[in-house]
């Protein structure tokens, strides 16, 4: 019988750099899984599914996720679903888990987000292999080179400067400084961001995410599966994914996030959100490159075209504003691959449960938006509206 899907547990490990990390990928995933089970209060034997993912070629194996599952210590009979959708794998874990639950097939499915970026000696070199082969791969682009096309076109359309693009980096770092699970917890000034080493015009190194090592896990349940668990359940009110053309050159316009705007209209309609700025209390968007964030806020209807930077400058997106954005510090401060893409869902769920670390908790948050994006030139988007479900 069809049911609604809820989130009823989350676990995160602290993050650090590959150089300082002393745990293996498996050990980090084990820590996150057991933290999520402890947070939820669910017994391992009550799970009836695992959804886990990996990214081809990023870990020196293409079966990383499959190898991990048996060694989590959760039993031998659990059905496993493995996703491999590149950079969007983490966000798609919850999309798949929720559909398994909604179909009535399963009641307690654990989404497992592992660290998938920290094996590659040169991550940009690995990412180049995910570029469209033959026609775009030979053109010297890693992920941040592709990411730079957006602010370049946005600057031309709206006159934004490097100083303008620095504002979301400054804010993300300020937020990350309060997040005990964040990797980069230093604060920055606009001047620090602008004067950092140029990577790919108009982006500097301070506008680009680090390679982090951490893991997380999220328990998705049916309504009956949530019964007896500890956290205030969070309803997955609406969620969807969307896709752009395969080639970067197939994008119609780099100055706007058209694909995300289309997806947002669909998800808002499903969730009956009519005025997102007023109706959403907390937001986590996937902006591993700082200039993406104002563009995403525009596509999500929080600001008019060209108005995203002003929205951030207004203070509305700070912890004490009316639309707190990326209180985790976002992927700009912590990006561990699959775990980095699951993180927006983990953090929004914790906010709505009231279980975020106290220094970053938004009081009384009831409805949140979580977003992920990835793939060549950010071809794929995923988005969800989550809602706190008060217990009767």
């Amino acid at each position: 019988m069809a049911t609604r899907a809820l989130i009823a547990g989350a676990g995160i490990t602290p993050a650090t750099s590959p150089r300082k990390q002393r745990s293996s990928s498996l050990e980090l995933v084990q820590e996150a899984v057991w933290a999520a089970l402890e947070h939820s209060g669910a017994a391992p034997s009550s799970l009836d599914g695992i959804v886990i993912g990996n990214i081809d070629g990023f870990e020196g194996t293409v079966l990383g996720a499959k190898h991990v599952v048996r060694r989590l210590g959760l039993g031998t009979e659990l059905p496993v679903s493995i996703l491999n959708t590149g950079g969007t794998t983490g966000g798609n874990l919850i999309q798949v888990a929720a559909r398994q639950v909604r179909s009535g097939d399963r009641h307690r499915v654990l989404c497992v987000g592992g660290p998938t970026f920290f094996g590659a000696e040169d991550l940009q070199s690995a990412i180049n292999t995910n570029s469209p082969m033959v026609v775009e791969q030979p053109l010297g682009m890693g992920a941040y080179h592709m990411g730079a096309f957006y602010p370049s076109a946005y600057a031309e359309r709206f006159g934004a400067t490097v100083e303008d693009f620095a504002v979301s980096a400054v804010q993300d770092h300020e937020h990350a400084s309060r997040n005990p699970y964040a990797h980069l917890r230093n604060t920055l000034t606009v001047e620090d961001v602008v004067s950092a080493k140029p990577l790919s015009s108009p982006m500097t190194m301070a506008m680009v995410c680090p390679v982090s090592t951490s893991a997380n896990a999220l328990l998705v349940t049916s309504e009956s599966g949530a019964a007896g668990l500890r956290p205030v359940p969070v309803l997955i009110r609406a969620m969807a994914t969307s896709s752009d053309p395969y080639l970067g050159g197939g994008k119609n316009d780099f100055a706007v996030m058209e694909n995300l705007a289309i997806l947002a209209r669909k998800v808002y309609q499903l969730a009956d959100v009519r005025n997102p700025r007023e109706e959403i209390d907390v937001v986590e968007v996937f902006s591993p490159y700082a200039p993406m964030q104002p563009m995403q806020l525009e596509a999500l209807g929080f600001a008019p075209p060209g108005g995203g930077i002003d929205l951030i400058r207004s203070g509305a997106t700070r912890i004490d504003g009316d639309l707190p954005v990326n209180l985790s510090g976002g992927p700009l401060c912590t990006n561990a691959g699959v775990a980095g893409e699951l993180a927006p869902y983990v953090y929004v769920a914790l906010q709505l449960m009231g279980d975020a670390p106290e220094v970053m908790q938004v009081p009384g948050a009831r409805r949140g938006l979580a977003h992920g994006t990835g793939g060549t030139f950010f071809q794929f988007e995923n988005l969800a509206i989550l809602e706190r479900q008060e217990r009767a």
């Binding site: 002393r22 026609v135 775009e136 015009s201």
Partner: protein
């Protein structure tokens, strides 16, 4: 003492089968021709060509040759590269060839890349560029060596 990492190395070659559509495009490049094709429903022109229109979900129809000139719509200058990548700095652009509905990604050369702060003024809105062909052409995207300002 604790040992934390061990290096693993992949050294594998692959052959990507181009198929009829990209095969014809690559053959065109060897003759200094940039071939595109058109969706019979929405009339959009694709370069590189594609067998199906991703919007209308129909097979593409007639082929046409595009001029080797166009306009830079988006670009970046890579100040850092990656292992096995080109030597930085280099400029990459999304180029709208005349008559195309998609952008063709390629290198733009002939710019002064000595100072990050004066790159944008060298590629103002509407900058026209043209393809410069490689001497030896073997049917790959780098048969167009790069684009340069007209």
């Amino acid at each position: 003492m604790t040992i934390t990492t061990q290096r693993v190395h992949w050294d594998l070659n692959y052959d990507v089968h181009l198929g009829a559509t990209w095969g014809r495009f690559m053959a065109g490049l060897t003759e200094r021709k940039i071939l595109a094709n058109r969706c019979p429903d929405c009339s959009r022109v694709f370069v590189p060509p594609q067998a199906y229109c991703e919007s209308c979900f129909v097979r593409t129809g007639d082929w046409l040759e595009l001029p080797s000139e166009g306009v830079v719509e988006a670009f970046t200058v890579a100040w850092q590269s990656f292992r096995g990548g080109p030597t930085p700095p280099y400029a990459i652009a999304g180029i709208r060839l005349e008559g195309a509905s998609t952008l063709l990604m390629h290198y733009v050369r002939g710019l002064d890349l000595s100072d990050p702060s004066n790159v944008r003024e060298q590629l103002p809105p509407g900058t026209r560029v043209r393809a410069v062909w490689a001497e030896e052409r073997t049917g790959q995207i780098l048969d167009i060596a790069y684009f340069e300002k007209v």
